[in-house]
Protein backbone atom coordinates (compact mmCIF):
# COMPACT_ATOMS: atom_id res chain seq x y z
CA UNK A 1 0.00 0.00 0.00
CA UNK A 2 1.15 3.50 -0.74
CA UNK A 3 2.07 5.92 2.03
CA UNK A 4 0.26 9.25 2.14
CA UNK A 5 1.87 12.49 3.24
CA UNK A 6 0.77 16.07 3.77
CA UNK A 7 2.75 18.55 1.70
CA UNK A 8 0.68 21.70 2.05
CA UNK A 9 -1.66 23.36 4.53
CA UNK A 10 -3.77 26.48 4.31
CA UNK A 11 -5.98 28.01 6.99
CA UNK A 12 -8.54 30.75 7.51
CA UNK A 13 -9.77 30.91 11.10
CA UNK A 14 -10.60 33.22 13.96
CA UNK A 15 -6.92 32.94 14.87
CA UNK A 16 -5.78 34.55 11.64
CA UNK A 17 -5.32 34.17 7.93
CA UNK A 18 -2.77 31.50 7.10
CA UNK A 19 -1.43 28.33 8.68
CA UNK A 20 1.34 30.20 10.52
CA UNK A 21 -1.04 32.68 12.15
CA UNK A 22 -3.34 29.81 13.17
CA UNK A 23 -0.51 27.81 14.71
CA UNK A 24 1.16 30.80 16.40
CA UNK A 25 -2.10 31.62 18.20
CA UNK A 26 -2.63 27.98 19.19
CA UNK A 27 0.84 27.79 20.71
CA UNK A 28 0.28 31.04 22.57
CA UNK A 29 -3.04 29.71 23.90
CA UNK A 30 -4.74 32.76 22.43
CA UNK A 31 -8.47 32.41 21.91
CA UNK A 32 -10.23 33.87 18.86
CA UNK A 33 -13.59 33.92 20.62
CA UNK A 34 -15.25 37.31 21.00
CA UNK A 35 -18.31 39.43 20.27
CA UNK A 36 -19.94 38.77 16.88
CA UNK A 37 -19.36 41.67 14.49
CA UNK A 38 -20.23 40.03 11.18
CA UNK A 39 -23.99 40.33 11.58
CA UNK A 40 -26.53 42.30 13.61
CA UNK A 41 -26.87 40.46 16.94
CA UNK A 42 -29.94 42.21 18.29
CA UNK A 43 -32.42 39.48 19.19
CA UNK A 44 -29.76 36.81 19.73
CA UNK A 45 -29.22 35.42 23.23
CA UNK A 46 -25.70 34.29 22.36
CA UNK A 47 -23.56 37.20 21.17
CA UNK A 48 -20.16 35.50 20.88
CA UNK A 49 -18.41 33.36 18.29
CA UNK A 50 -14.98 32.56 16.89
CA UNK A 51 -15.38 34.83 13.89
CA UNK A 52 -12.62 35.12 11.28
CA UNK A 53 -12.32 38.87 11.84
CA UNK A 54 -9.06 39.09 9.95
CA UNK A 55 -10.71 37.79 6.80
CA UNK A 56 -11.62 40.60 4.39
CA UNK A 57 -13.29 39.27 1.24
CA UNK A 58 -12.05 42.08 -1.02
CA UNK A 59 -8.42 41.32 -0.07
CA UNK A 60 -8.79 38.00 -1.86
CA UNK A 61 -11.48 38.38 -4.54
CA UNK A 62 -12.71 40.91 -7.09
CA UNK A 63 -16.26 42.19 -6.95
CA UNK A 64 -17.19 39.96 -9.89
CA UNK A 65 -15.72 36.91 -8.22
CA UNK A 66 -17.69 37.63 -5.06
CA UNK A 67 -20.96 37.61 -7.00
CA UNK A 68 -20.61 33.84 -7.39
CA UNK A 69 -18.81 32.84 -4.19
CA UNK A 70 -20.46 32.58 -0.78
CA UNK A 71 -18.28 33.38 2.25
CA UNK A 72 -17.77 29.64 2.87
CA UNK A 73 -16.44 29.15 -0.67
CA UNK A 74 -14.23 32.21 -0.34
CA UNK A 75 -12.63 30.83 2.80
CA UNK A 76 -12.15 27.41 1.21
CA UNK A 77 -10.51 28.94 -1.86
CA UNK A 78 -8.28 31.21 0.23
CA UNK A 79 -7.08 28.24 2.28
CA UNK A 80 -6.57 26.17 -0.88
CA UNK A 81 -4.49 28.91 -2.48
CA UNK A 82 -2.15 28.84 0.50
CA UNK A 83 -2.03 25.03 0.75
CA UNK A 84 -1.20 24.61 -2.94
CA UNK A 85 1.43 27.37 -2.83
CA UNK A 86 3.05 25.88 0.26
CA UNK A 87 3.13 22.41 -1.26
CA UNK A 88 4.83 23.80 -4.35
CA UNK A 89 2.85 21.35 -6.44
CA UNK A 90 2.22 22.17 -10.10
CA UNK A 91 -1.13 20.89 -11.29
CA UNK A 92 -0.30 20.09 -14.88
CA UNK A 93 -3.03 18.60 -17.07
CA UNK A 94 -1.92 15.05 -16.31
CA UNK A 95 -1.58 15.53 -12.58
CA UNK A 96 -4.92 17.38 -12.44
CA UNK A 97 -6.58 14.24 -13.86
CA UNK A 98 -5.11 12.19 -11.00
CA UNK A 99 -6.07 14.64 -8.24
CA UNK A 100 -9.13 14.26 -6.02
CA UNK A 101 -11.02 17.14 -4.39
CA UNK A 102 -12.90 16.10 -1.28
CA UNK A 103 -14.23 18.90 0.90
CA UNK A 104 -16.29 18.73 4.08
CA UNK A 105 -18.95 21.29 4.92
CA UNK A 106 -21.97 20.83 7.12
CA UNK A 107 -24.22 23.61 5.89
CA UNK A 108 -22.82 25.07 2.67
CA UNK A 109 -23.56 28.65 1.69
CA UNK A 110 -25.50 29.81 4.72
CA UNK A 111 -24.92 33.52 4.19
CA UNK A 112 -26.42 33.26 0.71
CA UNK A 113 -29.40 31.35 2.06
CA UNK A 114 -29.98 33.69 5.00
CA UNK A 115 -29.61 36.89 2.97
CA UNK A 116 -31.90 35.74 0.18
CA UNK A 117 -34.58 34.09 2.31
CA UNK A 118 -34.73 37.30 4.32
CA UNK A 119 -35.47 39.20 1.12
CA UNK A 120 -38.50 37.07 0.24
CA UNK A 121 -39.85 36.13 3.68
CA UNK A 122 -39.30 39.39 5.55
CA UNK A 123 -38.88 42.12 2.98
CA UNK A 124 -41.64 40.87 0.68
CA UNK A 125 -39.42 40.86 -2.41
CA UNK A 126 -40.57 38.82 -5.37
CA UNK A 127 -37.22 37.39 -6.40
CA UNK A 128 -33.78 36.40 -5.14
CA UNK A 129 -30.40 36.84 -6.78
CA UNK A 130 -30.07 34.62 -9.88
CA UNK A 131 -26.98 32.84 -8.52
CA UNK A 132 -28.52 31.89 -5.19
CA UNK A 133 -28.53 28.16 -5.98
CA UNK A 134 -24.90 27.83 -7.18
CA UNK A 135 -23.76 29.94 -4.21
CA UNK A 136 -25.57 28.05 -1.48
CA UNK A 137 -25.13 24.46 -2.65
CA UNK A 138 -22.90 22.44 -0.35
CA UNK A 139 -20.66 21.24 -3.17
CA UNK A 140 -19.82 24.79 -4.28
CA UNK A 141 -16.51 24.91 -2.34
CA UNK A 142 -15.35 21.57 -3.82
CA UNK A 143 -16.44 22.64 -7.31
CA UNK A 144 -14.69 26.01 -7.13
CA UNK A 145 -11.48 24.43 -5.86
CA UNK A 146 -11.52 21.94 -8.74
CA UNK A 147 -12.26 24.70 -11.26
CA UNK A 148 -9.64 27.17 -10.06
CA UNK A 149 -6.85 24.59 -9.86
CA UNK A 150 -7.79 22.36 -12.79
CA UNK A 151 -8.43 19.29 -10.61
CA UNK A 152 -10.30 16.82 -12.79
CA UNK A 153 -10.24 13.61 -10.79
CA UNK A 154 -12.88 12.43 -8.28
CA UNK A 155 -14.49 15.42 -6.54
CA UNK A 156 -17.34 15.71 -4.06
CA UNK A 157 -18.44 17.24 -0.80
CA UNK A 158 -19.06 15.47 2.47
CA UNK A 159 -21.64 16.58 5.00
CA UNK A 160 -21.50 14.82 8.33
CA UNK A 161 -21.95 17.80 10.64
CA UNK A 162 -18.98 18.14 13.02
CA UNK A 163 -17.15 15.17 11.42
CA UNK A 164 -17.36 16.39 7.80
CA UNK A 165 -13.68 17.34 7.54
CA UNK A 166 -12.37 14.16 9.10
CA UNK A 167 -14.55 12.07 6.81
CA UNK A 168 -13.21 14.10 3.85
CA UNK A 169 -9.54 13.81 4.84
CA UNK A 170 -9.97 10.12 5.64
CA UNK A 171 -11.56 9.38 2.27
CA UNK A 172 -8.81 11.31 0.49
CA UNK A 173 -6.18 9.37 2.43
CA UNK A 174 -7.71 6.00 1.57
CA UNK A 175 -8.09 6.95 -2.11
CA UNK A 176 -4.41 7.79 -2.46
CA UNK A 177 -3.35 4.81 -0.39
CA UNK A 178 -5.48 2.53 -2.56
CA UNK A 179 -4.32 4.07 -5.83
CA UNK A 180 -7.55 5.77 -6.95
CA UNK A 181 -5.80 9.14 -6.96
CA UNK A 182 -2.20 10.34 -6.67
CA UNK A 183 -2.93 13.67 -5.03
CA UNK A 184 -5.87 15.07 -3.06
CA UNK A 185 -6.91 18.55 -2.09
CA UNK A 186 -9.01 17.97 1.00
CA UNK A 187 -10.24 19.51 4.23
CA UNK A 188 -13.30 21.47 5.19
CA UNK A 189 -15.00 24.82 5.45
CA UNK A 190 -17.90 26.37 7.32
CA UNK A 191 -19.32 29.85 7.57
CA UNK A 192 -22.58 29.62 9.44
CA UNK A 193 -22.49 32.73 11.60
CA UNK A 194 -25.86 33.90 10.31
CA UNK A 195 -28.91 35.00 12.27
CA UNK A 196 -30.87 31.91 11.26
CA UNK A 197 -28.14 29.40 12.04
CA UNK A 198 -27.27 31.02 15.37
CA UNK A 199 -30.97 31.03 16.34
CA UNK A 200 -31.10 27.32 15.50
CA UNK A 201 -28.11 26.61 17.74
CA UNK A 202 -29.57 28.73 20.53
CA UNK A 203 -32.68 26.58 20.38
CA UNK A 204 -30.72 23.46 21.28
CA UNK A 205 -29.60 25.10 24.55
CA UNK A 206 -26.04 23.85 24.29
CA UNK A 207 -24.26 27.15 23.61
CA UNK A 208 -22.09 29.04 26.06
CA UNK A 209 -22.78 32.72 26.62
CA UNK A 210 -19.22 33.52 27.69
CA UNK A 211 -16.56 31.19 26.26
CA UNK A 212 -15.58 27.64 25.37
CA UNK A 213 -13.94 25.76 28.28
CA UNK A 214 -13.40 22.16 27.22
CA UNK A 215 -12.83 19.59 30.00
CA UNK A 216 -13.12 22.27 32.68
CA UNK A 217 -15.60 21.57 35.47
CA UNK A 218 -16.99 25.04 34.79
CA UNK A 219 -17.65 24.38 31.09
CA UNK A 220 -21.09 25.49 29.96
CA UNK A 221 -21.29 24.75 26.27
CA UNK A 222 -19.93 25.22 22.81
CA UNK A 223 -19.05 28.36 20.87
CA UNK A 224 -19.66 28.50 17.13
CA UNK A 225 -16.81 29.37 14.82
CA UNK A 226 -16.12 29.79 11.13
CA UNK A 227 -13.18 29.08 8.87
CA UNK A 228 -11.55 26.67 6.48
CA UNK A 229 -8.50 24.45 6.43
CA UNK A 230 -7.20 22.65 3.36
CA UNK A 231 -4.49 20.02 3.03
CA UNK A 232 -2.59 18.77 0.00
CA UNK A 233 -2.12 15.00 0.35
CA UNK A 234 0.25 13.07 -1.89
CA UNK A 235 1.65 9.65 -2.44
CA UNK A 236 4.95 9.60 -0.53
CA UNK A 237 7.10 8.44 -3.45
CA UNK A 238 5.76 11.15 -5.75
CA UNK A 239 6.23 13.80 -3.06
CA UNK A 240 9.82 12.67 -2.50
CA UNK A 241 10.52 12.51 -6.22
CA UNK A 242 9.62 16.16 -6.64
CA UNK A 243 11.52 17.14 -3.49
CA UNK A 244 8.41 18.31 -1.63
CA UNK A 245 8.53 19.56 1.94
CA UNK A 246 6.71 16.89 3.94
CA UNK A 247 4.76 18.13 6.96
CA UNK A 248 3.49 14.80 8.27
CA UNK A 249 1.97 11.51 7.28
CA UNK A 250 -1.62 10.29 7.54
CA UNK A 251 -1.47 6.66 8.62
CA UNK A 252 -4.93 5.69 9.85
CA UNK A 253 -8.61 6.44 9.51
CA UNK A 254 -11.54 4.92 11.37
CA UNK A 255 -15.23 5.66 11.16
CA UNK A 256 -18.27 4.36 12.98
CA UNK A 257 -21.93 5.16 13.54
CA UNK A 258 -23.47 5.17 17.02
CA UNK A 259 -26.89 4.08 15.74
CA UNK A 260 -28.15 5.47 19.01
CA UNK A 261 -29.28 9.09 19.36
CA UNK A 262 -29.52 12.14 17.11
CA UNK A 263 -27.64 14.43 19.52
CA UNK A 264 -26.31 12.49 22.52
CA UNK A 265 -22.76 11.16 22.16
CA UNK A 266 -22.06 7.47 22.58
CA UNK A 267 -19.22 5.89 24.53
CA UNK A 268 -19.39 2.81 22.34
CA UNK A 269 -19.36 4.67 19.01
CA UNK A 270 -16.44 6.90 19.99
CA UNK A 271 -14.47 3.96 21.42
CA UNK A 272 -14.96 1.89 18.28
CA UNK A 273 -13.96 4.79 16.00
CA UNK A 274 -10.63 5.34 17.80
CA UNK A 275 -9.95 1.58 17.79
CA UNK A 276 -10.76 1.39 14.08
CA UNK A 277 -8.36 4.24 13.31
CA UNK A 278 -5.54 2.60 15.30
CA UNK A 279 -6.18 -0.74 13.61
CA UNK A 280 -6.11 0.93 10.19
CA UNK A 281 -2.75 2.43 11.13
CA UNK A 282 -1.48 -0.90 12.46
CA UNK A 283 -0.85 0.57 15.92
CA UNK A 284 -1.78 -0.72 19.36
CA UNK A 285 -2.20 2.72 20.90
CA UNK A 286 0.96 2.89 23.00
CA UNK A 287 2.69 4.89 20.23
CA UNK A 288 0.19 7.77 20.46
CA UNK A 289 1.45 10.78 22.42
CA UNK A 290 -1.19 13.40 21.64
CA UNK A 291 -4.91 13.48 20.95
CA UNK A 292 -6.54 16.53 19.45
CA UNK A 293 -9.92 15.92 21.06
CA UNK A 294 -13.36 16.63 19.71
CA UNK A 295 -13.71 18.56 23.02
CA UNK A 296 -16.78 20.71 22.36
CA UNK A 297 -17.11 21.86 25.99
CA UNK A 298 -20.62 20.48 26.31
CA UNK A 299 -21.28 18.55 29.50
CA UNK A 300 -22.00 15.35 27.61
CA UNK A 301 -19.28 15.29 24.93
CA UNK A 302 -16.25 15.92 27.11
CA UNK A 303 -17.21 13.39 29.73
CA UNK A 304 -18.01 10.71 27.14
CA UNK A 305 -14.89 11.41 25.08
CA UNK A 306 -12.60 11.09 28.13
CA UNK A 307 -14.26 7.81 29.08
CA UNK A 308 -13.83 6.55 25.50
CA UNK A 309 -10.12 7.49 25.55
CA UNK A 310 -9.74 5.48 28.77
CA UNK A 311 -11.55 2.55 27.14
CA UNK A 312 -9.19 2.57 24.18
CA UNK A 313 -5.87 3.38 25.83
CA UNK A 314 -6.17 1.85 29.30
CA UNK A 315 -3.21 2.85 31.49
CA UNK A 316 -1.56 4.65 28.59
CA UNK A 317 -4.36 7.25 28.83
CA UNK A 318 -2.50 8.74 31.81
CA UNK A 319 0.55 9.38 29.62
CA UNK A 320 -1.41 11.01 26.78
CA UNK A 321 -1.66 14.72 26.18
CA UNK A 322 -5.26 15.54 25.20
CA UNK A 323 -6.25 19.05 24.19
CA UNK A 324 -9.23 20.72 22.57
CA UNK A 325 -8.22 23.56 20.28
CA UNK A 326 -11.92 24.45 19.88
CA UNK A 327 -11.23 26.55 22.97
CA UNK A 328 -9.38 28.90 20.59
CA UNK A 329 -10.78 28.49 17.04
CA UNK A 330 -14.30 27.68 18.20
CA UNK A 331 -16.43 24.86 16.88
CA UNK A 332 -16.24 25.31 13.12
CA UNK A 333 -18.54 22.32 12.47
CA UNK A 334 -17.74 21.17 8.92
CA UNK A 335 -14.28 22.76 9.08
CA UNK A 336 -13.50 21.50 12.59
CA UNK A 337 -11.54 18.35 11.75
CA UNK A 338 -9.39 20.13 9.15
CA UNK A 339 -8.52 23.04 11.47
CA UNK A 340 -7.69 20.45 14.10
CA UNK A 341 -5.54 18.42 11.70
CA UNK A 342 -3.60 21.63 11.06
CA UNK A 343 -3.11 21.89 14.84
CA UNK A 344 -2.16 18.21 15.04
CA UNK A 345 0.41 18.51 12.23
CA UNK A 346 1.96 21.49 14.00
CA UNK A 347 2.37 19.42 17.16
CA UNK A 348 3.96 16.52 15.24
CA UNK A 349 6.36 18.77 13.42
CA UNK A 350 7.53 20.96 16.27
CA UNK A 351 6.92 18.90 19.38
CA UNK A 352 4.85 21.78 20.75
CA UNK A 353 1.42 20.58 21.77
CA UNK A 354 -1.32 23.24 21.68
CA UNK A 355 -3.18 23.68 24.96
CA UNK A 356 -6.81 23.61 26.00
CA UNK A 357 -7.40 27.33 26.55
CA UNK A 358 -9.87 28.92 29.00
CA UNK A 359 -9.37 26.04 31.40
CA UNK A 360 -10.44 26.88 34.96
CA UNK A 361 -11.00 23.83 37.12
CA UNK A 362 -10.38 20.08 36.77
CA UNK A 363 -13.43 17.85 36.35
CA UNK A 364 -13.19 14.35 37.88
CA UNK A 365 -15.17 13.14 34.85
CA UNK A 366 -12.37 14.40 32.55
CA UNK A 367 -9.33 13.22 34.50
CA UNK A 368 -6.78 13.25 31.67
CA UNK A 369 -3.85 15.58 31.04
CA UNK A 370 -5.77 18.17 29.02
CA UNK A 371 -2.76 20.50 28.65
CA UNK A 372 -4.48 23.36 30.47
CA UNK A 373 -3.86 26.87 29.13
CA UNK A 374 -0.19 26.52 28.20
CA UNK A 375 1.40 24.75 25.25
CA UNK A 376 3.64 21.84 26.19
CA UNK A 377 6.85 20.56 24.65
CA UNK A 378 6.65 16.84 24.04
CA UNK A 379 7.94 14.10 21.79
CA UNK A 380 5.01 13.37 19.47
CA UNK A 381 5.71 10.54 17.03
CA UNK A 382 1.99 9.79 16.49
CA UNK A 383 -1.21 11.71 17.17
CA UNK A 384 -4.94 11.12 16.93
CA UNK A 385 -7.58 13.63 15.88
CA UNK A 386 -11.17 12.94 16.95
CA UNK A 387 -14.43 14.14 15.41
CA UNK A 388 -17.77 12.93 16.76
CA UNK A 389 -20.74 14.41 14.92
CA UNK A 390 -24.36 15.03 15.85
CA UNK A 391 -26.25 12.12 14.42
CA UNK A 392 -23.68 9.74 15.89
CA UNK A 393 -21.25 9.71 12.97
CA UNK A 394 -17.65 9.42 14.13
CA UNK A 395 -14.39 9.87 12.23
CA UNK A 396 -10.90 9.58 13.68
CA UNK A 397 -7.58 10.20 11.93
CA UNK A 398 -4.10 9.05 12.93
CA UNK A 399 -1.13 11.16 11.88
CA UNK A 400 2.57 10.39 12.14
CA UNK A 401 5.58 12.68 12.35
CA UNK A 402 7.54 12.40 9.16
CA UNK A 403 11.19 11.72 9.84
CA UNK A 404 12.09 9.42 7.04
Amino acid sequence: MRRVVVTGTGVVSALGIGYDAHVDALRAGRSGIGPIELIETEGLTIGIAAEAKGYVATDHFTKNELTLRDRVTQMALTATEEAVARSGIDFTDDLGMRTATIIGTSMGGQHTQDDNYRLIYRDGKQRVHPFTVPKLMSNAPASWISMEHGLKGPAWSISTACASSNHAIGQAFHMIRGGMADVAVTGGCESGLTYGVLKAWEGLRVMSKDTCRPFSKTRNGMVQGEGAAILVLEDLDAAKARGANILGEIVGFGMTADANDIVQPSLDGATRAMRAALADAGLDGSEIAYINAHGTATAANDKTECAAIRNVFGDHADRLLVSSTKSMHGHCIGAAGALEMAATLSALGSGIVPPTANFEEPDPDCDLDVVPNEAREADVPFALSNSFAFGGLNAVLVARRFDD
Binding site: K209, G221, A299
Partner: protein
Amino acid sequence: MSDDIRQRVRVIVAEQAMIDVEQVSPESTMDDLGLDSLGLVEIVFAIEEEFGVSVPYNANEPNSEEFDISTVKAVEDGVIKLTAEKV
Protein backbone atom coordinates in the same frame (compact mmCIF):
# COMPACT_ATOMS: atom_id res chain seq x y z
CA MET B 1 -53.47 34.01 38.06
CA SER B 2 -50.59 31.91 39.35
CA ASP B 3 -52.87 28.83 39.54
CA ASP B 4 -53.64 29.36 35.90
CA ILE B 5 -49.92 29.53 35.07
CA ARG B 6 -49.26 26.34 37.03
CA GLN B 7 -52.02 24.55 35.14
CA ARG B 8 -50.69 25.73 31.75
CA VAL B 9 -47.14 24.58 32.65
CA ARG B 10 -48.52 21.18 33.64
CA VAL B 11 -50.36 20.86 30.35
CA ILE B 12 -47.08 21.53 28.52
CA VAL B 13 -45.18 19.01 30.64
CA ALA B 14 -47.93 16.39 30.26
CA GLU B 15 -48.00 16.78 26.52
CA GLN B 16 -44.25 16.28 26.26
CA ALA B 17 -44.31 13.31 28.64
CA MET B 18 -47.27 11.87 26.74
CA ILE B 19 -49.40 11.40 29.88
CA ASP B 20 -52.64 12.88 31.23
CA VAL B 21 -52.24 16.23 32.93
CA GLU B 22 -53.75 14.72 36.14
CA GLN B 23 -50.75 12.42 36.38
CA VAL B 24 -48.34 15.35 36.63
CA SER B 25 -47.78 16.15 40.30
CA PRO B 26 -45.87 19.16 41.61
CA GLU B 27 -43.26 16.87 43.14
CA SER B 28 -42.57 14.96 39.90
CA THR B 29 -39.04 15.24 38.58
CA MET B 30 -38.32 15.22 34.86
CA ASP B 31 -36.80 11.78 35.35
CA ASP B 32 -40.01 10.51 37.00
CA LEU B 33 -41.92 11.61 33.94
CA GLY B 34 -39.50 9.87 31.59
CA LEU B 35 -38.24 13.15 30.09
CA ASP B 36 -34.70 13.28 28.71
CA SER B 37 -32.66 16.36 27.85
CA LEU B 38 -34.32 16.75 24.44
CA GLY B 39 -37.77 16.53 26.03
CA LEU B 40 -36.73 19.22 28.47
CA VAL B 41 -35.47 21.48 25.68
CA GLU B 42 -38.86 21.09 23.99
CA ILE B 43 -40.67 21.98 27.22
CA VAL B 44 -38.56 25.11 27.60
CA PHE B 45 -39.37 26.07 24.00
CA ALA B 46 -43.11 25.48 24.55
CA ILE B 47 -43.03 27.60 27.74
CA GLU B 48 -41.30 30.45 25.92
CA GLU B 49 -43.91 30.34 23.15
CA GLU B 50 -46.87 30.02 25.54
CA PHE B 51 -45.87 32.78 27.94
CA GLY B 52 -43.82 35.07 25.72
CA VAL B 53 -40.81 34.83 28.03
CA SER B 54 -37.17 33.90 27.59
CA VAL B 55 -36.11 31.00 29.83
CA PRO B 56 -32.46 31.05 30.92
CA TYR B 57 -31.86 27.32 30.51
CA ASN B 58 -28.59 25.75 29.33
CA ALA B 59 -28.57 21.97 28.87
CA ASN B 60 -24.93 21.90 29.97
CA GLU B 61 -25.86 23.26 33.38
CA PRO B 62 -29.08 21.44 34.35
CA ASN B 63 -28.44 22.15 38.04
CA SER B 64 -27.89 25.86 37.53
CA GLU B 65 -29.82 28.07 39.93
CA GLU B 66 -30.76 30.43 37.11
CA PHE B 67 -33.76 28.29 36.19
CA ASP B 68 -34.58 25.41 38.50
CA ILE B 69 -35.89 22.33 36.71
CA SER B 70 -35.58 19.86 39.58
CA THR B 71 -39.37 19.35 39.87
CA VAL B 72 -42.54 20.38 38.09
CA LYS B 73 -43.27 22.82 40.92
CA ALA B 74 -39.83 24.40 40.53
CA VAL B 75 -40.52 24.93 36.83
CA GLU B 76 -43.94 26.43 37.63
CA ASP B 77 -42.34 28.80 40.17
CA GLY B 78 -39.74 29.80 37.63
CA VAL B 79 -42.36 30.59 35.00
CA ILE B 80 -44.45 32.59 37.51
CA LYS B 81 -41.34 34.63 38.31
CA LEU B 82 -40.49 35.19 34.64
CA THR B 83 -44.03 36.29 33.75
CA ALA B 84 -44.08 38.66 36.75
CA GLU B 85 -40.78 40.19 35.60
CA LYS B 86 -42.23 40.64 32.11
CA VAL B 87 -44.89 43.15 33.19
